[in-house]
Structure formats: structure tokens, C-alpha cells
Subunit: 199 residues, 2 copies
């Protein structure tokens, strides 16, 4: 059927590259674009192209920035410059910022090590991170995800810090608030017991 | 945080209009676009704009078409022109075509009646459907979804056909293949009993 509508077929092929768009929804999204008015299509495309053109990674921490070479966090003199929190992605950084619990700097690795998908240390911003470690830095917090890839990434980067006089820590793993023990897998409960805290 | 990156903020606002993109994933998709190479961004935008420009609804049944005014199904002389299957959307049409069980024509309503969202008969292609009913049409199959809106739409359109000498039918409701009875709601089991067939 769709082979008679080559432009629609091409659109669906392009939409396949957009992450987090379930394949069963590609046809619906394509159909939505065809039914939309021209103005909203133009606005979406312009927004994608403009963001791609104007938004750059911060020279220091690889957070996104637009108006200057340094992102708003690196440029903020009120932030604690002695602490770096290492995250995989920008949205992990946003998740931590939303808590307003942390006022140090960040470093966005750009993903996690994943040899099976061919992602090695050179594909991440590990070297740039290591050049940031100087006498001013007192603490490094690893906030990579508690997945096998995230754990391996934290271990790898932490191993490069050996010998430096730093406080190196890792976000706590355990049972998330509002969940019950029986919903949790063994490894999570193991981590929660191992990381138990004085009451 | 994001207010310091106005182009990224604008992109996320635009992405909010894309259906089937979960709001928790908007930041990830935006970040994906920023990390993509320029070429794939251009290809995506070109594909959206080109499809919007070239793909039009079929003059007859409102299926999508590109190369001529009539869609591939309406233009196909091998299809049974005495039968029309009424569907809500193009992707419903695709779902039926995939079965290769139906060789008649279609009519795409463009949605279902939903007074709460302000969708009335004039927002659908009901009038265009009624003008298609002539002596040549022997059968109308309603394949709107078995949701309250889909049922209301089928009832409404069917009421307009009263008096015409047509075989009017509705897709069977019942227990989908591979599911067990205990997973089903009462209404589905009720429909399955009411629609039971000789063994």
C-alpha cells in the first residue's frame, strides 16, 4: 500500500531514526504531520534546525549552552567549583538540578561505555573530564545510572582518578521511595542492605 | 536551567505537539537532535516538508495519495467497487490491508465523533461518504474502533444509511486471539457471548 506514496514512505523511514518513538506509532505520527497545518510543520522544522545551529556543548562540562561558550552552571560564580558531579547525559543533569540539592559543577560524559555497541572511552568526554581535575577539585560524585554500562563507566573513570587526593563517591542504590520491597529485584535489595544507614 | 538555552526550550515546546512522544522523553529526543549530524537533521526536516507538500487525501475515499487524485486502492480496477469499508484513520486502513482479507474500497472518516473534544460530523468526511452511496454499492462494513467514540460514529453514519438497500455490517467484537478470558473486561465477554458463532 505505502509503496504508492513514496514521500510518505520516506518520511516514515526518517522517523524511524527518532528515538523513543515506538515503531507502532510511526504511521500515526506521519499521518499527524500530513493532517497538520503548514504553519505548525514549519515551526517544528525551524525549531529543530535553529536548535541544531545555535545550541552547543559547554566547553568545560559538555552541558548544552547557547549564549556563551560556558553553560549557565559553569558560568555561575555562586556554584561550588570544588565539586564535580559526573553524569551520562544532559537529562540526567536536569534530573539532579530539579532536586536543588546539589550546587557544584557537572561533567556530561555523553553516554556510557558499551563495548557491544562500539562505545569506548574515546566516544565519551572522559579525557576532557580528566583535564578538569586539578588542585581546586575536592570531590567527584559519580551519578551514572545503576545499569551495567553506567557502573562500568563509573568504575573506569574512577580508576583514572586513583592517586589524586579527592573525595570520590557514587550515588546510593536502594529501594526508591514509594515502592515496596516485594516489587524489587534481588540486586536492588542486596544494594539496599549493603548500603544501609544508621537510623 | 533550560531557560538559559532558548532555542532548546523552543524545540521542546514544538516537540510537545508531536503525538505519541511521551513527555518524559521530550528532553531525550531534543538532546538526540542536538547530538545528531547535520545531514540527518536536514533529511528529517526535508522528509516532513516534502511529505506535507506532495501527499494529499484521495478525492474519493480520503486515503493518502501522492501521484494522482485517486489513491492506489480507488484507482485499482481489480478491487470490488460494490463494497466500502469505513475506517477512522489511515493506519486502521493499513491494518486491514495487511490481512489481505478485504478487496473492496475504503472510506477514511478522519477520526471519530467526540463532542467533548468538539469533533462533530462536519469535522469528519461523513458527507463525502454519503455522496458515494449509489446503486453500485451493495455493502458497507463499519470498521471504526470498538471504543465509545468509534461505536457512536458507526451508529451515527449507519443511521444516515437507513432506507438504502445495503448490507450494513460491523466488525465483530470479542476476545482477541492469544488472550485468556480472565484478562478480558466484562463488556468484551458480553460482546463475545452475544456474537457467538456456530461451531
Amino acid at each position: 500500500m505505502i509503496k504508492h506514496i513514496p514521500s510518505l514512505e520516506k518520511l516514515i523511514r526518517q522517523l524511524q531514526h527518532v528515538p523513543y518513538l515506538a515503531s507502532k506509532n510511526l504511521y500515526r505520527v506521519a499521518s499527524h504531520f500530513l493532517s497538520s497545518d503548514q504553519k505548525s510543520i514549519d515551526q517544528l522544522c525551524r525549531a529543530i534546525i535553529e536548535a541544531k545551529e545555535k545550541v552547543k556543548p559547554c566547553k568545560n562540562c559538555f552541558n548544552w549552552t547557547q549564549t556563551s561558550d560556558l553553560c549557565a552552571i559553569c558560568a555561575d560564580s555562586k556554584r561550588d567549583r570544588s565539586s564535580i558531579c559526573v553524569v551520562e547525559t544532559w537529562h540526567d543533569l536536569l534530573a539532579i538540578e530539579r532536586t536543588q540539592d546539589y550546587d557544584g559543577l557537572y561533567h556530561v560524559l555523553g553516554g556510557s561505555l558499551c563495548p557491544l555497541e562500539g562505545v569506548g572511552p574515546d566516544d565519551l568526554t572522559v579525557d576532557a573530564f580528566l583535564t578538569r581535575i586539578d588542585d581546586g577539585i575536592k570531590e567527584v560524585i559519580f551519578a551514572t545510572n545503576p545499569t551495567p554500562e553506567g557502573e562500568a563507566t563509573a568504575s573506569f573513570v574512577a580508576s583514572k582518578l586513583e592517586g589524586a587526593s579527592l573525595l570520590v563517591s557514587r550515588l546510593a542504590s536502594g529501594i526508591p521511595i514509594g515502592y515496596s520491597l516485594e516489587q524489587m529485584d534481588r540486586v536492588t535489595i542486596h544494594k539496599a542492605i549493603a548500603g544501609r544507614r544508621p537510623f
